[in-house]
């Protein structure tokens, strides 16, 4: 088999091989140096913990997923609406864009305590924090997209006496789609980060304990295998979100946009 960089099997096989290699080296190192499990547990121990503590971890995973998805959904809806409003008029954008940047540059850890005080319901507070984190890429990418219209096509629409609505639906939205999907990829990851960071700050326990809470608790109790298991689930969630966004993007743009074209050899 020739080593062709466009080979799809290789694209899956190579990262998997690297992963297995890392796990083997990890396990070997822990075993060889007799590293205590409260410092670095072996991957096998982490897997065992994952199975043993599954009911606890799974409940927490659901909580984190719920916050992430609600925040992501809100960020997409609000971000798109704001972007459309900004794209309608340069004056609206001029007036409000600096404040959108303000949202972006203020670390969520710094405003989370305030939000947790203001929003009584714990889950809602987490959702608000995560939404703030995930919002900006949607706004900025969608605005960029709505403005990145081929001037020739715009002339063509105007010469054909297109209405503003036709221009928006048939020209601006399709032109913005590649940028929007780029924003989705970034934003989905940020929604998860926002959900986890906010929970660290909030430290909500009980029935609404998410994965961040389990990590905090495991850290206090030096239950490092549990910490690793929770960390693994968060990472897995992030990767899954990314893959979902890539697939969505491929479904929407695959036929025509350069970013999704498979190079022909």
């Amino acid at each position: 088999m020739a080593l062709d960089p466009n080979n799809r099997t290789l694209a899956v096989l190579l990262p998997v091989l690297v992963g297995i290699l890392v796990l083997v080296v990890w396990h070997g190192a822990v075993w060889y140096w007799q590293v205590p499990k409260y410092l670095v547990p072996s991957p096998i121990l982490v897997a065992e913990t994952l199975v043993d503590q599954w009911s606890l971890l799974f409940a927490s995973l659901l909580v984190t997923l719920k916050v992430t998805f609600m925040a992501f959904f809100l960020a997409v809806v609000i971000g798109t609406l704001i972007a459309f409003a900004f794209a309608q008029s340069k004056f609206i954008e001029m007036s409000f864009f600096p404040y959108a940047v303000l949202l972006q540059v203020t670390p969520v850890v710094a405003i989370a305590p305030l939000i947790i005080i203001w929003v009584k319901e714990p889950t809602a507070a987490l959702v608000v924090c995560a939404t703030i984190v995930a919002l900006f890429p949607i706004i900025s990418n969608t605005i960029l997209g709505l403005r990145s219209v081929n001037p020739g096509l715009l002339n063509l629409f105007r010469m054909n006496r297109a209405t503003r609505l036709q221009e928006l639906v048939r020209l601006r939205i399709p032109s913005a789609a590649p940028y929007f999907f780029g924003g989705l990829r970034i934003s989905s990851g940020l929604a998860l980060i926002g959900a986890v960071v906010a929970e660290f700050v909030a430290g909500t326990g009980g029935t609404s304990a998410g994965l961040a809470y389990q990590i905090l608790q495991a850290g206090f109790q030096l239950d490092i295998p549990l910490l690793f298991a929770a960390l693994f689930l968060i990472t897995l969630t992030g990767v899954a979100l990314f893959l979902i966004m890539v697939t969505l993007s491929k479904l929407a743009l695959g036929d025509w946009h350069e970013s999704e074209l498979v190079p022909e050899t």
Binding site: L153, F157, R161, W256
Partner: protein, 280 residues
């Protein structure tokens, strides 16, 4: 062709009457000074009659594209005015007064298939889908792309993309085609083929065309009349009637009379660039 015709040299006479047909476009002393203060065009007087194939020929900076865009109502003249079929622009689009602009680039929507791109003007005008599709089929057949209706633009060559662009112009059943160096980015072989096909379409469908180019050969091959323009300042130098019957084909391209016209236009353009330099 008789020997008498073959040896007759082209005559440059601006007074020579333009071919019959009521005026489609009248440019009445229109000029253009851009907001930067650059004078793109000195006042222009030009009449394009229905059924003519007029090319605007000149070096870059002579204002030929500006003039064409004024005719398309994409740019307003600084002073002077224009008439479309003897009326103002408000009546353009009525039956028998349809005008369409073909850009230098194909200007296609990459997310839409060929059919969707060609149907766009009809969709924007609210033409029902079934009627629209029938008209798209006819337009695609005219440019020889009936088999490519479900391709995406990126799957087509530059020449084929330009054909899609022309089909999109034809689908509105226009009376007047305004073309801004439409084949300028294509290789010579493709360009010759498209020139020929365009000319046949013009002839069969009794269109009126105003065509901007900087190719002397293209202008001689296509036109009933060449409007030679010069730069600094942008102005009309001379109008040359290409007195050669249609349909024209490759035999015309290699004829002595073609060469004579081309040579004389070449001399005119060279003189213009000298006199233009003297203006600076």
């Amino acid at each position: 062709m008789t020997i008498a015709q073959a040896v007759r040299t082209p005559e440059f006479d601006a007074q020579e009457p333009a071919p019959a047909g009521p005026p489609a476009i009248e440019v009445l002393g229109a000029d253009k000074v851009f907001s930067t203060g650059v004078r793109a065009l000195t006042p222009i007087d030009l009449t394009v009659n229905q059924g003519e194939f007029v090319t605007l020929l000149g070096p870059s900076g002579c204002g030929k594209s500006t003039l064409l865009k004024m005719v398309a109502n994409l740019i307003e003249p600084t002073s002077g005015g224009l008439m479309w079929w003897g009326r103002d622009y408000g009546h353009v689009g009525e039956e028998g007064k349809k005008l369409v602009f073909v850009f230098q680039d194909p200007t296609l929507m990459p997310w839409s298939r060929v059919r969707g791109n060609v149907r766009l003007p009809l969709d924007l005008a609210g033409v029902p889908k079934a009627e629209g599709n029938a008209r798209v089929d006819r337009a695609l057949a005219m440019v020889g792309l009936e088999k490519f209706d479900s391709s995406y633009p990126r799957q087509l060559s530059g020449g084929m993309q330009m054909r899609v662009s022309i089909a999109r112009a034809l689908v509105t059943e226009p009376n007047l085609l305004l073309m801004d160096e439409p084949f300028g980015a294509l290789d010579e072989i493709t360009r010759n083929k498209l020139d020929q096909d365009l000319l046949d379409l013009w002839f069969e469908r009794k269109l009126t065309v105003v065509f901007v180019t900087h190719s002397i050969y293209e202008s001689v091959f296509l036109s009933t009349r060449v409007v030679v323009m010069a730069a600094r300042p942008g102005r009309v130098l001379r109008e040359v009637v290409i007195d050669e019957p249609y349909p024209r084909d490759d035999a015309w391209r290699v004829s002595q009379r073609f060469a004579a016209y081309a040579r004389d236009l070449q001399v005119l353009l060279a003189e213009a660039s000298v006199s233009g330099a003297a203006h600076e």
